[in-house]
Amino acid sequence: MNTKKNKVFVTGMGIISSLGIGIHQNLERLIEGRSRIGAIRHLKTRLSNELIAGEVPLSNKELIPLSGINDAKGISRAALLGIIAAREATKNTDFNDSNVRTGIISGTTAESMTNIELYLQDFLNNDSRNEYIESQDWGYSTEVIAKELGIFGYQTTINTACSSAANAIMTGARMVKHNMLDRVLVGGTDALSKVMLNGFHALMIVDPQISKPFDKNRRGLNLGEGAAFLMIESDKVAEEKNIICELSGYGNSNDAYHLTALSPDGKGAAMAMMNAIEGSGLNPKKIDYINAHGTGSENNDLSEALGIEKVFGKNIPKFSSTKPFTGHTLGSSGALEAVFSILSLQKNLVFPNLNFKNSMDEVDVTPEKDLVRSMKINNVLSNSFGFGGNNTSLLFLKTES
C-alpha cells in the first residue's frame, strides 16, 4: 500500500521576523528564549514613544539587496519581506519543470498600508510617488513574489485579517488534494504600519510592555511584522529527500458574533480545532502540542482557552503562544507560527510561552512557560484566529522515515 497517497507534504520553508532572517536564526532565538520585541526604529510613528513592536531589524534599503530583486521601483516593505521568505522556502524547488503545476497563495492584511500612509497626500496632489500607487492592491505583493520566483500558475491572495496566512496554507492544501495544483507556495507577509499600530492602540488592546499570553494579568498584544512561506507538494511530486512533514488537517469556522471580537464561549475556536483534528483522522487525545494564537488580548486568550478546554476536556496537550517572541504579525502570523510548529515537530521542542506567571480564573489551563526538550512530538496543532471571528487551525504531522 502506498502510504503517501493523496497526502500533502511540506517540502520547504522560509521565514523572516523580528527574531531574524531565515529558519536557523529563528530557531536559535526561540531556543534561547529571549523576546526580540523592542523599540520601534524603522517605522516613523509618534507611538514609538509609548509602544514597542516586533520589527524586522532592517530598513527597506537594507532589505532590497537581501531580497535579490532587480527592480525595486514602487516596492512595498511587505513584498520585500515576502520575497526573502519565499526564496528560502523554495531553495530546493526546481521551477524549470513546466509539467509540475505550481501556484502561490499568500495571506496579507496590512499589505499596502506602509506605502499609503507615507504617500497618500502625494497620490492625491502630485506625481512624485506615482510608482507606489499600484502597491495599494492586496494582490500586489503576491504578484511581485510570483514574478521574482517565476511562478506562473494559479495565484491568489487571502485577507481574513489575522487568520489570512493560515487560510492561505489551508487553501493551498485543498487545491493540491483536488488535483488542481501539484505544488503551491503558501504563507503570508505583513509589514508594521502606522494604521495598524494606531488601530489596535485605539481599541486599547496593545500592551506597552511585552505581552503575557494566557496570563491572568495580561494587558494586550504587541504588533510585529514578518513573512513566512511553506512549499507544499502532492504525494506525486514531493521528493522523499525534501519532505519535512505532512499537512494532515485543517479547519475553518466563523464565530458569527462580532466584527472585531471572538465569541466569548470559545465555540468557534473549538470548531476550527475539531475540524483540523477530525480531518487528520486523529483522536484529540493524540495531539502532542498546540502552538496557540495567544495574542495576549483579554478576549482572544479567554476564548481560545475555553475552546481548548471544549476540545480536550481534562487531557489538555502542552500548549504555548510564541507571540511574545515576535509580536502579532497579523496577516502573516499563521505562516510564522506554521514554521514554528514544524520546527517543534522536527526538533521535538515546545517553545516557551514567555512572561506567563498566573493562570486565568475562568479556565483551568496553563501554557508551558519553559522550553520543553524531553518529549517526542508527533503532531502539532497551530491556531490562528482573527477579526470578524475567522478561526483557522492547521495540523502538522511527522512523517515516518
Binding site: M113, Y154, I158, N159, K194, G199, N254
Partner: protein, 355 residues
C-alpha cells in the same frame, strides 16, 4: 457542474429586484459609476444603519437578497471576493490618524476596515458559523471565491455556498488611480464607451451574489462547469492556448460556445487583446460586452456571471450587450473571458442546466 439556485445583483443598472432584465438602461455622464442602492432600512436595524459602512451595506443587501431568492435563511458556507474590500474605511481611519497626530484616534472606522468584515457581517446576520473566506487579489478575487466554492461542494462536508463579488468605488481610490491613467480623460458617457478609441476606462462597482449547490432545484438558473485563471500570458498565442485547453478539458470546442462575454472596457492600451481574439479563435462566435453598464472594477466578473446566468435562464440576449447581432437561439454554453490590465485573466464557463 455546480448549480446557481439563487442570485442577486446590485449594480449601476436597475437590476436589483431580479424582475426586469436590462430593460431600463442608465446612462451616466461621469467616469465613476455607482450602484443604484436599495432601501437599506429593509436590511438593517436603524441603529446598525448609522454605524455600518457603505461597502458592508452593499455586501449584506446583496447577500440577503440572494438568500431570499433561494428561499434560504442561513447558508452553509460563505465565500466573498473583493479587490478593494473596506479600503474606504482605511482611508477614513488614516486621515483621522494624520489629523489627530496619532493621539486619541476614534477606532470605529478601523473596526470596519478589515476586508473580511463583508463575509463576517453576512455570518453574523445569518448565524452561519461554518467555513468563511475572503479573497482579495485584484481581478482574481471573485474567481478565487468561485473556485473555492466548487472545491467546497465537491468535498461534500457542506451542502451549499453563498458566493459574492463585492467592490466599492470611492473618491480617493478614483483620484489616485486616475493619476496613473487608469480612467478616461475627459469624462465620457458610459454608453459610448466603445465608440471612442482612447486610453483608460471608467470606474464602477457592484455587489453580486450567487447561491450555489451541487444539484439542480426548481429554482436553478444555470450551471457553472468550470472556472480558470492565469497570469501575465506572453501574448495572444498563449491566451488562445489557455482558452482552448480550458474548453478541451470540458470536452467542448469553440463551436460549442453560443455566446462569449468579453471584459472589453474601452481602454485602447488593453482592449486589443479582446479584438485580436474576436478576429482569431472567437471569429465564429457571438460576442457580448458589459462594462459600459457597470464600469471596471476588480470583481466585475461577478456582474458578468449574473448577466450570463440571466441569459441562460431567460434565453434572451439584451441588445445593449450585443457586439455581433446574430445570436441564434437556444443559448446553451456561455464563456466569460475577462482580464485586468493583461495581468489577471479569467475564464468562467456556464451551461444551460437542462443540458
Amino acid at each position: 457542474m455546480i448549480y446557481i439556485n439563487g442570485l442577486a445583483n446590485i449594480s449601476p443598472q436597475p437590476a436589483f429586484n431580479n424582475k426586469e432584465f436590462l430593460t431600463d438602461i442608465r446612462q451616466y455622464k461621469t467616469n465613476m459609476l455607482q450602484c443604484i442602492e436599495p432601501d437599506y432600512s429593509h436590511f438593517f436595524h436603524p441603529n446598525a444603519l448609522r454605524r455600518i459602512g457603505r461597502v458592508l451595506k452593499l455586501g449584506w443587501a446583496g447577500a440577503k437578497s440572494c438568500l431570499d431568492d433561494a428561499g434560504i435563511q442561513t447558508p452553509d458556507t460563505i465565500c466573498v471576493g473583493t479587490g478593494k474590500g473596506c479600503f474606504k474605511n482605511t482611508h477614513v481611519f488614516l486621515n483621522s490618524v494624520i489629523e489627530n497626530d496619532e493621539k486619541f484616534v476614534p477606532p470605529s472606522p478601523f473596526i470596519q476596515s478589515a476586508h473580511g468584515s463583508i463575509a463576517s457581517q453576512i455570518a453574523i446576520q445569518t448565524g452561519c458559523k461554518n467555513y468563511n473566506m475572503t479573497y482579495s487579489h485584484r481581478a482574481f478575487s471573485f474567481e478565487s471565491a468561485l473556485i473555492d466554492a466548487m472545491m467546497l461542494l465537491s468535498e461534500g462536508k457542506y451542502k451549499n455556498v453563498l458566493v459574492g463579488g463585492v467592490d466599492e468605488i470611492e473618491e480617493i481610490q478614483f483620484r489616485t488611480f486616475d493619476r496613473i491613467g487608469h480612467f478616461k480623460n475627459p469624462e465620457t458617457n458610459n454608453l459610448s464607451l466603445f465608440t471612442e478609441k482612447s486610453k483608460g476606462t471608467i470606474a464602477g462597482e457592484g455587489s453580486a451574489f450567487f447561491f450555489l449547490e451541487n444539484h439542480p432545484t426548481e429554482k436553478t438558473y444555470a450551471g457553472i462547469r468550470s472556472v480558470h485563471t492565469f497570469s501575465n500570458p506572453k501574448g495572444r498565442i498563449e491566451i488562445e492556448k489557455q482558452i482552448e485547453n480550458f474548453l478541451n478539458h470540458e470536452n467542448l470546442t469553440l463551436k460549442d460556445l453560443d455566446l462569449v462575454i468579453l471584459g472589453i472596457n474601452g481602454d485602447s492600451d488593453f482592449d486589443w487583446i479582446y479584438y485580436d481574439l474576436m478576429k482569431s479563435i472567437f471569429s465564429e462566435n457571438n460576442h457580448a460586452y458589459y462594462k459600459h453598464l457597470c464600469g471596471e472594477y476588480h470583481t466585475s466578473s461577478a456582474f458578468a456571471l449574473w448577466l450570463a446566468t440571466k441569459i441562460l435562464h431567460l434565453q434572451e440576449v439584451p441588445e445593449i450587450i450585443q457586439l455581433k447581432n446574430n445570436v441564434t437561439k437556444p443559448v446553451r454554453n456561455i464563456l466569460i473571458y475577462n482580464h485586468y490590465r493583461d495581468m489577471n485573466h479569467s475564464l468562467i464557463l456556464l451551461t444551460d442546466p437542462k443540458e
